[in-house]
Symmetry: C2
Subunit: 457 residues, 2 copies
């Protein structure tokens, strides 16, 4: 085992990216545009101003500017917790007895516990710069809410977080972290919004969903003076901000004289995957690099592998614009025993387009298999991974085992998005043998597809 | 604000320490020896063999070897999560408007969430090397138990953890993390030991104490074939292993052309403080460096600031050797509303001796003041600190504010031992205003002092 390459490799501050990379500028075909749900016409930048602050609305629509400067203030906050390490998984390689070289980019070493902070900082900064006086968002597993709470506390903007009710109740400590950063955390659905009251009236016992929390947060933002909404995934702007992950990873690998044959990432709404793969996908598109990109998703929420590529609402309450994406239908809610995040019904329009065009692959795993991989990884690599991140671990392990069969010395890069400290209920269920796998039937999924908006574009 | 010095500074792998530093070799006067409680005679190395594995018994007694090679296997595991960053607290400096330069060595970026892993790895390794087949330990706040679970899983040694019952019940997630690493976690006092059954019979409602859990773990180790006991603090061997913290910090500061005027660390049993200060205390003793060393402890468990320097048992059950140390009496249990660790009745004999000889200072703070500092720190530095670590933050802030008064541009280094993800109950209590400060009265303390063994040495 050569030790020229260290276990952990950190860029220096001056090697950190000073620009985000906008993959859309290099895509041969663009994702279909967002639609106004009332007119079914493509949205213009101005149409987004009531929801997003102006700079973010601009970034959302900007498919031309290839590199976008990271403002100095954001770079400064990045430096507090970045660069994140690129780690060579020597011990995992040894455990698997694989000829493959496995690297992972670990984004969990910050208090939000995940990569979500990369976009939260950008969104809070631009809101502050525009003079906004408050923000709203939603959170499911809690990582995004925590990240945005941190960013808003740092820049001094009050934040209201609509937290999916089942998470709010099951994860009181997540809530407590957000409150430490002075966020106002409200269980969703709530009686603070019209849409929340409507959902509660129709289904009083509901424990909420991400799509429903989004509806509430958007309503609150659009009906409050000086307030805007921010979202931690799915959006083009989020993938742009998250490109810092891939840019750092690529620079680090270049310095180590390495380049991946396969890049593996977990996919919920696509924020981590889109950020991680951005510069590698560029190489594939622009330079015809022979590189495989693999999205890993839960079998319980299989938007890539079993969803439809269609226009759909981004939320349950159908108040948001419509996006063309792989979707299970905006009413889809994963089974209650689904652990962790990756529970969104849709998928980033950028990633959806790339997948649709055959530029990336997708696989899905049942959660007990994912937790087996998580436990193995924790033992040999000493990091307790988040359930979401463990999907990528499982995907990378399977790639490495394929190399063992074929004898190929491939280089595998995967994204380890975060830590699992707030997911111990799920780990305990796995440990006790009470964790259940749930895979929706074709009939289950058909119900969601039947409710997709009928749009002929 | 000069940016020549980065926010985060990491040594490269080849700059990491290859030897631990044994401060005793440079102390002008040695700590008093451990005593056999039956004979009151100084212990010999062999006397420790029933409790500790041989190499660790040797390290415990070795006051002469200045530098001790870190075995290759331990260095390899260190490289998985080390070096830990030396962080320049630019934002904290700005927030305090102080001319002081503040640095902190952050040990929380590993799954145990603290510096404890540094010694856990060493102790698990030596046990494995000796062919031992199991280990026992105790844990209070849970960081040590987590760290040792990780290390034992890595080296493949079964581990039993006696977890103080109130922690076991209040922190189910800590227990779940240990179980993920396959540790057997038992609430203490338990009916698995003679001493546990005795304590339960005398006080059926007890929620346990660290001293009591130590008694159980030691009994279990000494009555089980091929089993030994390991401890995460207080001991000389632990301070030796933890010297990696101070050595890395000193090397990093040298590379940045910096040197601390003041070093601040939290003190419970002394593992972090002893490790952090080791090379700086050397400079003070050997090179007459003008450097202040400040221990920060909770006002609710004030062993340095209000304890007696006397021989005492290291455990409640009085089954361990006796050590000369600052102690509140082996029966002392901090108030139930005391948050986090730093709850041990005694203090490292090495640190006790240094303090007694005037080579270091100590201060104590009430916990609400500590959590105020923690919250401020989280907002500006974006790390959610452990309650223990927050004592050091509070100490460093007060040093920096003194500099603001005097205008002195001192360089302050403090140890940020870990993260507070498992301490959100305490954070919530602080947030809700229900956190209470409890300071023992002189009468309370006198009761503990009255029970100290009468030893005339």
């Amino acid at each position: 085992m050569s030790k020229k390459i260290p276990y952990r490799f950190y860029l220096s501050e001056d090697q950190m990216p000073k620009q985000w990379y906008n993959l859309r500028a290099d895509m041969k075909e663009q994702p279909d545009p967002l639609l106004n749900p009332a007119t079914l016409q493509p949205l213009k930048e101005e149409d987004l101003y009531p929801i997003f602050c102006k700079e973010l609305a601009h970034q959302e629509m900007d498919s031309e500017t290839r590199y976008i400067d990271i403002p100095e203030e954001i770079q400064e906050m990045y430096k507090i917790y970045r660069p994140s390490p690129l780690i060579r998984a020597y011990n995992l390689e040894k455990e698997l007895d694989t000829p493959a070289k496995i690297y992972y980019k670990f984004e969990g070493n910050n208090t939000s516990g995940s990569h979500k902070l990369n976009s939260a900082i950008a969104q809070a900064y631009y809101a502050k710069k525009q003079g906004l006086t408050s923000l709203t968002t939603e959170t499911g597993a809690g990582q995004w809410g925590t990240a945005l709470s941190e960013a808003c506390a740092y820049f001094g903007i009050p934040l209201t977080v609509y937290m999916v009710k089942c998470s709010y109740e099951q994860k009181p400590f997540r809530k407590a972290v957000m409150q430490t950063f002075d966020a106002d955390v409200i269980p969703s659905p709530s009686d603070t919004t019209v849409v929340g009251r409507k959902i509660l009236a129709e289904n009083p016992g509901t424990t909420g969903s991400l799509g429903c929390a989004i509806s509430e947060a958007v309503e609150k933002a659009t009906t409050t003076e000086g307030c805007r909404y921010v979202l931690g995934s799915v959006l083009n702007q989020v993938l742009l901000h998250q490109s810092v992950i891939g840019l750092e990873a690529k620079t680090a690998m270049e310095l180590l004289e390495e380049y991946p044959d396969v890049v593996v990432g977990c996919a919920g709404g696509g924020s981590n995957l889109g950020g991680l793969i951005a510069p590698f996908m560029r190489d594939k598109i622009v330079d015809n690099k022979n590189i495989r990109i693999v999205a890993v998703e839960p079998a319980s929420c299989p938007s890539f592998t079993r969803g439809k590529y269609a226009y759909d609402f981004c939320d349950t309450g159908m108040v948001t614009p419509m996006a063309k994406m792989y979707t299970l239908g905006s009413g889809f809610i994963p089974s209650a025993n689904h652990a962790g995040g990756l529970r969104y019904h849709g998928m980033s329009p950028i990633l959806s387009k790339l997948y649709h065009d055959g530029l990336m692959e997708a696989v899905s795993y049942e959660q007990t298999k994912v937790f087996e991989a998580a436990k193995l990884f924790a033992r040999v690599e000493t990091i307790l991974p988040a359930p979401e991140s463990s999907h990528a671990i499982k995907g990378a392990i399977d790639e490495a085992l394929k190399c063992k069969e074929t004898g190929e010395e491939k280089t595998i890069l995967f994204g380890l998005t975060g830590t699992g400290y707030f997911d111990m209920t799920a780990y305990s269920a796995f440990h006790d043998g009470t964790m259940i796998d749930y895979i929706p039937t074709d009939e289950d999924l058909q119900k969601g597809f039947d409710k997709l908006p009928k749009i002929d574009r």
